[in-house]
Protein backbone atom coordinates (compact mmCIF):
# COMPACT_ATOMS: atom_id res chain seq x y z
CA UNK A 1 0.00 0.00 0.00
CA UNK A 2 2.81 2.37 0.90
CA UNK A 3 4.64 1.57 -2.34
CA UNK A 4 1.47 2.13 -4.32
CA UNK A 5 0.89 5.49 -2.65
CA UNK A 6 4.47 6.63 -3.11
CA UNK A 7 4.73 5.58 -6.75
CA UNK A 8 1.50 7.40 -7.60
CA UNK A 9 2.83 10.49 -5.82
CA UNK A 10 5.88 10.48 -8.03
CA UNK A 11 3.61 10.48 -11.06
CA UNK A 12 1.56 13.30 -9.61
CA UNK A 13 4.66 15.39 -8.89
CA UNK A 14 5.50 15.12 -12.57
CA UNK A 15 2.03 16.39 -13.54
CA UNK A 16 1.75 19.21 -10.99
CA UNK A 17 4.53 21.66 -11.55
CA UNK A 18 5.42 24.50 -9.25
CA UNK A 19 7.35 26.83 -11.49
CA UNK A 20 9.96 29.32 -10.41
CA UNK A 21 7.53 32.01 -11.51
CA UNK A 22 4.92 30.73 -9.00
CA UNK A 23 7.35 31.05 -6.10
CA UNK A 24 8.71 34.38 -7.34
CA UNK A 25 5.18 35.79 -7.49
CA UNK A 26 4.62 34.76 -3.89
CA UNK A 27 7.83 36.37 -2.65
CA UNK A 28 6.54 39.64 -4.15
CA UNK A 29 3.55 39.52 -1.81
CA UNK A 30 3.97 42.13 0.87
CA UNK A 31 3.62 41.12 4.51
CA UNK A 32 -0.05 40.40 4.91
CA UNK A 33 -1.57 43.04 7.16
CA UNK A 34 -4.66 42.33 9.19
CA UNK A 35 -6.99 44.57 7.16
CA UNK A 36 -5.77 43.33 3.77
CA UNK A 37 -6.28 39.73 4.93
CA UNK A 38 -10.00 40.34 5.55
CA UNK A 39 -12.61 39.31 3.02
CA UNK A 40 -15.00 42.05 1.73
CA UNK A 41 -17.99 40.54 3.56
CA UNK A 42 -16.12 40.71 6.88
CA UNK A 43 -15.02 44.30 6.22
CA UNK A 44 -18.63 45.18 5.38
CA UNK A 45 -19.90 43.48 8.57
CA UNK A 46 -17.40 45.36 10.75
CA UNK A 47 -18.10 48.70 9.02
CA UNK A 48 -21.87 48.25 9.24
CA UNK A 49 -21.49 47.35 12.94
CA UNK A 50 -19.36 50.42 13.63
CA UNK A 51 -21.78 52.73 11.79
CA UNK A 52 -24.79 51.25 13.61
CA UNK A 53 -23.21 51.44 17.07
CA UNK A 54 -21.62 54.86 16.40
CA UNK A 55 -24.76 56.39 14.94
CA UNK A 56 -26.94 54.97 17.72
CA UNK A 57 -24.58 56.16 20.45
CA UNK A 58 -24.47 59.71 19.05
CA UNK A 59 -28.27 59.89 18.85
CA UNK A 60 -28.71 58.51 22.37
CA UNK A 61 -26.14 60.88 23.88
CA UNK A 62 -27.79 63.75 22.06
CA UNK A 63 -31.24 62.84 23.42
CA UNK A 64 -29.98 62.28 26.97
CA UNK A 65 -28.04 65.56 26.96
CA UNK A 66 -30.53 67.90 25.29
CA UNK A 67 -34.00 66.32 25.25
CA UNK A 68 -34.08 64.02 28.26
CA UNK A 69 -37.31 65.47 29.72
CA UNK A 70 -39.25 64.82 26.47
CA UNK A 71 -37.73 61.42 25.73
CA UNK A 72 -39.49 58.12 26.35
CA UNK A 73 -37.73 55.94 28.90
CA UNK A 74 -38.82 52.88 26.94
CA UNK A 75 -36.99 54.17 23.87
CA UNK A 76 -33.86 55.13 25.80
CA UNK A 77 -33.67 51.80 27.60
CA UNK A 78 -34.48 49.65 24.52
CA UNK A 79 -32.11 51.53 22.22
CA UNK A 80 -29.37 51.65 24.89
CA UNK A 81 -29.47 47.90 25.56
CA UNK A 82 -29.72 47.16 21.82
CA UNK A 83 -26.62 49.26 21.09
CA UNK A 84 -24.77 47.74 24.03
CA UNK A 85 -25.49 44.18 22.85
CA UNK A 86 -24.45 45.06 19.27
CA UNK A 87 -21.23 46.64 20.59
CA UNK A 88 -20.43 43.50 22.64
CA UNK A 89 -21.04 41.29 19.57
CA UNK A 90 -18.88 43.59 17.44
CA UNK A 91 -16.00 43.52 19.95
CA UNK A 92 -16.15 39.69 20.11
CA UNK A 93 -16.19 39.54 16.28
CA UNK A 94 -13.17 41.87 15.85
CA UNK A 95 -11.23 40.15 18.64
CA UNK A 96 -11.94 36.79 17.03
CA UNK A 97 -10.78 38.02 13.58
CA UNK A 98 -7.52 39.38 15.04
CA UNK A 99 -6.74 36.21 17.00
CA UNK A 100 -7.52 33.97 14.00
CA UNK A 101 -5.23 36.14 11.87
CA UNK A 102 -2.42 35.76 14.45
CA UNK A 103 -2.63 31.96 14.76
CA UNK A 104 0.69 30.36 13.81
CA UNK A 105 0.02 27.76 11.13
CA UNK A 106 3.42 26.20 11.89
CA UNK A 107 2.16 24.95 15.26
CA UNK A 108 1.22 21.31 15.81
CA UNK A 109 -1.90 20.32 13.88
CA UNK A 110 -4.10 19.38 16.84
CA UNK A 111 -3.26 22.52 18.88
CA UNK A 112 -3.62 24.88 15.91
CA UNK A 113 -6.88 23.36 14.69
CA UNK A 114 -8.26 23.29 18.22
CA UNK A 115 -7.55 27.00 18.62
CA UNK A 116 -8.95 27.86 15.18
CA UNK A 117 -12.09 25.78 15.49
CA UNK A 118 -12.79 27.07 19.00
CA UNK A 119 -12.40 30.66 17.81
CA UNK A 120 -14.52 30.17 14.70
CA UNK A 121 -17.25 28.30 16.49
CA UNK A 122 -17.42 31.12 19.04
CA UNK A 123 -19.25 33.04 16.28
CA UNK A 124 -22.25 31.12 17.59
CA UNK A 125 -21.91 33.26 20.73
CA UNK A 126 -22.31 36.38 18.60
CA UNK A 127 -25.57 34.97 17.21
CA UNK A 128 -26.79 34.13 20.72
CA UNK A 129 -26.05 37.66 21.96
CA UNK A 130 -27.70 39.28 18.95
CA UNK A 131 -30.86 37.22 19.40
CA UNK A 132 -31.18 38.65 22.91
CA UNK A 133 -32.13 41.92 21.22
CA UNK A 134 -35.42 40.47 19.93
CA UNK A 135 -37.78 41.76 22.69
CA UNK A 136 -36.22 45.24 22.52
CA UNK A 137 -37.70 45.69 19.05
CA UNK A 138 -41.16 45.41 20.60
CA UNK A 139 -40.62 48.01 23.34
CA UNK A 140 -38.64 50.92 21.87
CA UNK A 141 -41.79 52.68 20.53
CA UNK A 142 -43.71 52.52 23.82
CA UNK A 143 -44.37 55.64 25.89
CA UNK A 144 -46.41 56.65 28.93
CA UNK A 145 -49.38 57.96 26.91
CA UNK A 146 -49.89 54.52 25.34
CA UNK A 147 -50.46 53.13 28.83
CA UNK A 148 -52.63 55.95 30.09
CA UNK A 149 -54.75 56.39 26.93
CA UNK A 150 -54.55 53.09 25.07
CA UNK A 151 -57.14 50.30 24.97
CA UNK A 152 -56.79 47.26 27.24
CA UNK A 153 -57.07 44.96 24.22
CA UNK A 154 -53.98 46.57 22.63
CA UNK A 155 -52.11 46.40 25.93
CA UNK A 156 -52.78 42.67 26.11
CA UNK A 157 -51.53 42.17 22.53
CA UNK A 158 -48.43 44.25 23.32
CA UNK A 159 -47.71 42.19 26.45
CA UNK A 160 -48.18 38.88 24.58
CA UNK A 161 -45.85 39.94 21.74
CA UNK A 162 -43.17 41.27 24.11
CA UNK A 163 -43.25 38.17 26.34
CA UNK A 164 -43.24 35.88 23.30
CA UNK A 165 -40.15 37.64 21.89
CA UNK A 166 -38.46 37.62 25.30
CA UNK A 167 -39.17 33.91 25.71
CA UNK A 168 -37.94 33.17 22.17
CA UNK A 169 -34.72 35.14 22.63
CA UNK A 170 -33.89 33.42 25.94
CA UNK A 171 -34.78 30.04 24.50
CA UNK A 172 -32.51 30.67 21.49
CA UNK A 173 -29.74 31.92 23.77
CA UNK A 174 -29.69 28.62 25.64
CA UNK A 175 -30.46 26.31 22.71
CA UNK A 176 -28.11 27.57 19.98
CA UNK A 177 -25.41 24.98 20.64
CA UNK A 178 -23.60 22.10 18.95
CA UNK A 179 -25.92 19.42 20.34
CA UNK A 180 -28.82 20.95 18.38
CA UNK A 181 -26.97 21.37 15.09
CA UNK A 182 -29.04 18.69 13.32
CA UNK A 183 -32.42 20.02 14.48
CA UNK A 184 -34.62 21.48 11.77
CA UNK A 185 -34.93 24.96 13.36
CA UNK A 186 -31.15 25.16 13.82
CA UNK A 187 -30.46 24.28 10.19
CA UNK A 188 -33.09 26.81 9.09
CA UNK A 189 -31.56 29.53 11.24
CA UNK A 190 -28.00 28.88 10.09
CA UNK A 191 -28.76 27.93 6.49
CA UNK A 192 -26.57 30.46 4.64
CA UNK A 193 -23.24 29.35 3.20
CA UNK A 194 -21.45 31.86 5.44
CA UNK A 195 -22.50 29.67 8.40
CA UNK A 196 -21.14 26.45 6.89
CA UNK A 197 -17.54 26.99 8.09
CA UNK A 198 -18.86 27.80 11.59
CA UNK A 199 -20.90 24.61 11.80
CA UNK A 200 -17.95 22.69 10.34
CA UNK A 201 -15.72 24.24 13.04
CA UNK A 202 -18.10 23.02 15.74
CA UNK A 203 -17.89 19.51 14.29
CA UNK A 204 -14.11 19.69 13.96
CA UNK A 205 -13.76 20.82 17.58
CA UNK A 206 -15.63 17.71 18.73
CA UNK A 207 -13.52 15.60 16.40
CA UNK A 208 -10.31 17.05 17.90
CA UNK A 209 -11.51 16.35 21.44
CA UNK A 210 -12.13 12.74 20.43
CA UNK A 211 -8.81 12.51 18.57
CA UNK A 212 -6.83 13.68 21.61
CA UNK A 213 -8.21 10.91 23.81
CA UNK A 214 -5.85 7.97 24.27
CA UNK A 215 -7.65 4.69 24.01
CA UNK A 216 -6.41 1.15 24.49
CA UNK A 217 -6.05 -0.59 21.15
CA UNK A 218 -6.86 -4.26 20.64
CA UNK A 219 -5.61 -5.42 17.22
CA UNK A 220 -8.25 -7.14 15.08
Amino acid sequence: MKELWQSSNTKLEEVITITRKNTEDITRLKVNHFLSSMKPLKIFTVLAGFIWVGFGTVILINIITFHFSQASLFFLLSAGVQILLTAIALIIYIYQLIVIYQVDMGGSVVATQEKLSLLKSSTIWIARILFLQLPLWTTFYLNESIFSNGQTFLHIIQAIVTFAFAYLSIWLFFNIKYENKDKKWFRLLFAGKEWTPIIKSLELYREIEEFKKEKVYFPA
Binding site: L4, L12, I16, T23, V110, K120, E207, F211, E214, Y217
Partner: protein, 168 residues
Amino acid sequence: MQQQENQKFQELIEQHKGILIKVARTYCQDPEDRQDLIQEIMIRVWQSFHKYDDTFKISTWLYRISINVAISFYRKNVLRKFRNIPLHNQEEPAEGVEMYDTEQQLNLLEKFINELKELDKALLLLYLEEKSHAEIADILGISTGNVGTKVGRIKDKLKYRFSKNKNN
Protein backbone atom coordinates in the same frame (compact mmCIF):
# COMPACT_ATOMS: atom_id res chain seq x y z
CA MET B 1 19.01 40.45 2.41
CA GLN B 2 15.51 40.27 0.91
CA GLN B 3 17.01 38.67 -2.21
CA GLN B 4 18.61 35.97 -0.02
CA GLU B 5 15.33 35.32 1.75
CA ASN B 6 13.50 34.97 -1.59
CA GLN B 7 16.17 32.60 -2.85
CA LYS B 8 15.92 30.46 0.33
CA PHE B 9 12.15 30.27 -0.03
CA GLN B 10 12.35 29.24 -3.67
CA GLU B 11 14.87 26.51 -2.84
CA LEU B 12 12.74 25.29 0.05
CA ILE B 13 9.66 24.94 -2.16
CA GLU B 14 11.67 23.30 -4.93
CA GLN B 15 13.16 20.73 -2.54
CA HIS B 16 9.98 19.96 -0.63
CA LYS B 17 7.23 20.50 -3.18
CA GLY B 18 6.36 16.82 -2.76
CA ILE B 19 5.00 17.52 0.74
CA LEU B 20 2.67 20.24 -0.58
CA ILE B 21 1.46 18.03 -3.41
CA LYS B 22 0.83 15.00 -1.18
CA VAL B 23 -1.12 17.02 1.37
CA ALA B 24 -3.17 18.65 -1.40
CA ARG B 25 -3.84 15.24 -2.91
CA THR B 26 -5.02 13.88 0.45
CA TYR B 27 -7.44 16.74 1.12
CA CYS B 28 -8.67 17.70 -2.37
CA GLN B 29 -10.00 15.48 -5.11
CA ASP B 30 -10.82 18.31 -7.49
CA PRO B 31 -7.68 19.20 -9.54
CA GLU B 32 -8.62 22.91 -9.51
CA ASP B 33 -9.08 22.93 -5.72
CA ARG B 34 -5.81 21.08 -5.40
CA GLN B 35 -3.97 23.75 -7.36
CA ASP B 36 -5.62 26.48 -5.27
CA LEU B 37 -4.68 24.68 -2.07
CA ILE B 38 -1.02 24.35 -3.13
CA GLN B 39 -0.98 28.08 -3.87
CA GLU B 40 -2.56 28.83 -0.47
CA ILE B 41 -0.01 26.62 1.32
CA MET B 42 2.89 28.36 -0.46
CA ILE B 43 1.54 31.77 0.60
CA ARG B 44 1.26 30.65 4.24
CA VAL B 45 4.75 29.13 4.14
CA TRP B 46 6.10 32.45 2.81
CA GLN B 47 4.22 34.44 5.46
CA SER B 48 5.48 32.16 8.26
CA PHE B 49 9.01 31.85 6.86
CA HIS B 50 10.53 34.16 9.50
CA LYS B 51 8.80 32.21 12.29
CA TYR B 52 10.49 28.90 11.44
CA ASP B 53 11.89 27.33 14.60
CA ASP B 54 14.94 25.25 13.65
CA THR B 55 14.55 22.95 16.64
CA PHE B 56 12.07 21.15 14.37
CA LYS B 57 12.97 19.45 11.12
CA ILE B 58 12.03 21.56 8.12
CA SER B 59 9.82 18.72 6.83
CA THR B 60 7.96 18.62 10.18
CA TRP B 61 7.32 22.36 9.94
CA LEU B 62 6.19 22.11 6.32
CA TYR B 63 3.85 19.20 7.08
CA ARG B 64 2.36 21.19 9.96
CA ILE B 65 1.66 24.26 7.83
CA SER B 66 0.42 22.24 4.87
CA ILE B 67 -1.99 20.12 6.94
CA ASN B 68 -3.21 23.11 8.95
CA VAL B 69 -3.89 25.10 5.78
CA ALA B 70 -5.51 22.06 4.11
CA ILE B 71 -7.93 21.50 7.01
CA SER B 72 -8.85 25.20 7.12
CA PHE B 73 -9.14 25.31 3.32
CA TYR B 74 -11.34 22.22 3.34
CA ARG B 75 -13.61 23.84 5.92
CA LYS B 76 -14.00 26.93 3.74
CA ASN B 77 -14.64 24.91 0.60
CA VAL B 78 -16.79 22.23 2.14
CA LEU B 79 -19.54 22.73 -0.45
CA ARG B 80 -17.16 22.27 -3.36
CA LYS B 81 -16.49 18.65 -2.49
CA PHE B 82 -19.92 17.75 -3.84
CA ARG B 83 -18.78 18.60 -7.34
CA ASN B 84 -15.55 16.62 -7.17
CA ILE B 85 -13.89 15.48 -10.32
CA PRO B 86 -11.76 12.63 -9.04
CA LEU B 87 -8.24 12.12 -10.30
CA HIS B 88 -9.02 8.48 -10.88
CA ASN B 89 -12.30 6.89 -11.72
CA GLN B 90 -13.70 5.88 -8.35
CA GLU B 91 -16.15 3.22 -9.43
CA GLU B 92 -16.35 0.02 -7.46
CA PRO B 93 -14.69 -2.93 -9.20
CA ALA B 94 -16.99 -4.88 -11.49
CA GLU B 95 -18.45 -8.10 -10.16
CA GLY B 96 -16.54 -11.22 -11.04
CA VAL B 97 -13.20 -9.51 -11.34
CA GLU B 98 -10.83 -11.55 -9.24
CA MET B 99 -7.66 -9.54 -9.34
CA TYR B 100 -7.29 -5.89 -8.66
CA ASP B 101 -4.94 -4.00 -10.83
CA THR B 102 -2.89 -1.16 -9.46
CA GLU B 103 -5.28 1.47 -10.71
CA GLN B 104 -8.24 -0.10 -8.91
CA GLN B 105 -6.33 -0.42 -5.67
CA LEU B 106 -5.35 3.21 -5.93
CA ASN B 107 -8.95 4.22 -6.53
CA LEU B 108 -10.00 2.28 -3.48
CA LEU B 109 -7.27 3.85 -1.37
CA GLU B 110 -8.26 7.34 -2.49
CA LYS B 111 -11.89 6.60 -1.77
CA PHE B 112 -10.95 5.34 1.68
CA ILE B 113 -8.89 8.47 2.41
CA ASN B 114 -11.71 10.68 1.18
CA GLU B 115 -14.14 9.13 3.67
CA LEU B 116 -11.85 9.70 6.67
CA LYS B 117 -12.19 12.55 9.14
CA GLU B 118 -9.77 15.49 8.81
CA LEU B 119 -7.25 14.39 11.44
CA ASP B 120 -7.37 10.74 10.42
CA LYS B 121 -6.54 11.82 6.87
CA ALA B 122 -3.40 13.52 8.17
CA LEU B 123 -2.51 10.46 10.21
CA LEU B 124 -2.89 8.08 7.27
CA LEU B 125 -0.93 10.39 4.97
CA LEU B 126 1.99 10.47 7.41
CA TYR B 127 1.79 6.71 7.90
CA LEU B 128 1.86 6.11 4.14
CA GLU B 129 4.83 8.46 3.91
CA GLU B 130 6.63 6.15 6.37
CA LYS B 131 7.12 8.79 9.02
CA SER B 132 8.16 7.44 12.42
CA HIS B 133 5.64 7.52 15.25
CA ALA B 134 7.78 10.17 16.96
CA GLU B 135 7.67 12.42 13.89
CA ILE B 136 3.93 11.89 13.41
CA ALA B 137 3.47 12.80 17.09
CA ASP B 138 5.53 15.98 16.55
CA ILE B 139 3.56 17.05 13.50
CA LEU B 140 0.13 16.31 14.96
CA GLY B 141 0.85 17.25 18.56
CA ILE B 142 -0.27 14.02 20.27
CA SER B 143 1.73 11.42 22.21
CA THR B 144 3.62 8.63 20.40
CA GLY B 145 1.49 6.10 22.26
CA ASN B 146 -1.63 7.71 20.90
CA VAL B 147 -0.11 7.68 17.39
CA GLY B 148 0.53 3.93 17.70
CA THR B 149 -3.06 3.29 18.79
CA LYS B 150 -4.56 5.36 16.00
CA VAL B 151 -2.27 3.98 13.29
CA GLY B 152 -3.16 0.43 14.36
CA ARG B 153 -6.85 1.20 14.20
CA ILE B 154 -6.65 2.90 10.82
CA LYS B 155 -4.57 0.02 9.39
CA ASP B 156 -7.27 -2.42 10.51
CA LYS B 157 -9.96 -0.32 8.86
CA LEU B 158 -7.90 -0.19 5.67
CA LYS B 159 -7.32 -3.96 5.68
CA TYR B 160 -11.00 -4.59 6.30
CA ARG B 161 -12.00 -2.29 3.46
CA PHE B 162 -9.66 -3.97 0.98
CA SER B 163 -10.61 -7.50 1.98
CA LYS B 164 -14.32 -6.61 1.84
CA ASN B 165 -13.96 -5.28 -1.68
CA LYS B 166 -11.92 -8.30 -2.72
CA ASN B 167 -14.66 -10.63 -1.47
CA ASN B 168 -17.45 -8.75 -3.22
